[in-house]
């Protein structure tokens, strides 16, 4: 699965091997097939429920995220988009009350199976958050540090290559190559977000999750990130949560619409309404609920 990151030179040989994840099939590149036709995607959820304590936040989510595609999750506030996203790389483990039922398969292996190391999962399935959150360190260290805690043991020169490669992939290198020792916080919001993408890329994931990555950015910085996503999908599978439907329409290959409903106990539980090719979803959605949401009409 490292065919994607030639510009990086991380030695992964001394990473702890994960027996449940070694049988990874090579990426299927035919992005235009439906996930069903293309066979298992990079991530598949099967009847996934996510709880916070007794509260069922999302119910019965079965989805197939294809290799080298951008999948967008849209839906009203509180329908569980972030919850679903965090369940895909066990980020929800960090919330003590959170529990995920059902299966989440990554390259066919259940990431919630006993013995799976969540840290390794998060290395392979990276995440970029809504608010750019660089470490209060130099631009160089923002990337180097993440790689180090993820087991990077290469030489100094290797590390320089790694940092440069990651910054190039995040389309940031030209803007920062002369000031690698300046603080990551000195960058503009859009640059900080690309730095965070570079940091995610540096751990050699093959999936990148993004939770509203542009909501704090101006329109031009937003378009730059979108361009970057389109470049990155050559080598990565991307799953993005966005409130900006135009953004989903512009960048994604497939769009999932989630809605929220009251259950018998009066709880608001999110569920998947429709996961369709984006061109189809925005011109002729299958479900009326999708049409009502994307055209701004409810009720």
């Amino acid at each position: 699965m490292n065919d994607t990151t030639e510009t990086l030179s991380v030695d992964t040989a001394d990473m702890p091997p994960d027996p449940t994840l070694t049988a990874a099939p090579t990426a299927m590149k035919n992005a235009r097939e439906t996930p069903e036709e293309a066979g298992p995607g990079v991530i598949e959820t099967k009847n996934m429920d996510v709880f916070y304590g007794d509260f069922k936040a999302v119910a019965d989510v079965s989805m197939n995220f294809a290799f080298n595609e951008i999948s967008a999750l849209i839906g009203p506030s509180g329908c569980g988009k972030s919850t679903v996203l965090r369940s895909l790389n066990r980020m929800n483990d960090l919330i003590p009350t959170a529990r995920t039922d059902g299966e989440v398969l990554y390259h066919g292996a259940n990431i919630y199976a006993p013995g799976v190391d969540p840290v390794e999962i998060r290395r392979r399935i990276g995440m970029v958050f809504q608010k750019p959150n660089p470490f209060p360190k130099s631009i160089f260290d923002n990337i180097a540090w993440g790689a180090k805690i993820n087991g990077f043991k290469g030489s100094k020169a290797d590390m320089k290559d790694l940092v440069e490669g990651a910054l190039r992939q995040a389309a940031l290198w030209d803007e920062v190559k002369d000031k690698l020792n300046e603080s990551g916080l000195s960058l503009s919001g859009g640059q900080q977000q690309r730095l965070c993408i570079a940091r995610a890329v540096a751990t050699q994931p093959d999936v990148i999750l993004m939770d509203e990555p542009c909501s704090a950015l101006d329109p031009i910085a937003t378009l730059r990130i979108e361009e970057l996503m389109l470049e990155l999908k050559e080598n990565y599978s991307i799953i993005i949560v966005t409130h900006n439907m135009q953004q989903a329409a512009r960048v994604s290959d497939r769009t999932a619409f989630f809605n929220v409903e009251l259950d018998t106990k009066g709880q608001r539980t999110g569920y998947l309404v429709e996961f369709s090719p984006t061109d189809q979803l925005f011109t002729s959605p299958k479900e009326k609920a999708t049409e009502d949401y994307i055209t701004g009409r409810f009720g």
Partner: protein, 241 residues
Amino acid sequence: MTADRDVTAAVPEREGTRQHFDETLEQIKQDLVTMGSLVLENVRRAGDAMVESRLDLVEVVREVDDQVDQLYLEAEKLTFETLARQQPVAGDLRFLVAATRILYELERSGDLAYNCVKMLARVDGFPQHPLITPLLEASVTASCKVFAQGIDALADLVPDAGAKLDAADDEVDHMVSELFTVVGRHSFEVGLEVAIALSRVGRFLERIADHAVNIGEHVTYTVTAALPGEGHNATADEDGG
């Protein structure tokens, strides 16, 4: 989604979230129907002019067609503005894209009505002929009937308008081909120039109905997202003038 889920219960009442937008869409549809009705009226008027050889109506047809063109420009502007400002999707997008096409079909149909009376004026009126005149009248009637059906389908957003109009159009083709035959057979009686003018008029009436069929297809696309199939016809090049 399962049937026992009550989606509406969880979604706050948000009717009227896009009231202004809805009004604009309704306005555009109204403009199309108004424009279509004007064109239909003008095709009938052109038909009367030809059947009764009333050259006084030629100028009226021209004036009404100017009104049609004016409406076209206004409706087109509103449609493009709405596309640009509202970034419509799904059914709204399909309607607005269809509207731009329907506008074109209506505008062309209007021109064809005027072309009919131009032919009439060119030969200084059509002579009454016991076989040709009734067939000309029947062709006008058939074409108007299909066109009216197209406008109704638009007003009511009839889902299978495309197929229905396509079937109705056969009658026009039949009438016009009869007209061609009879005009050809009796050209020596009315004179070659008139015979040619009548043939062209027959062609125009046929094209007007074809535009109505296209309107039906655009309506079907709006409602069902089905793209027009093979039968799509009446292009600008073929309309002549």
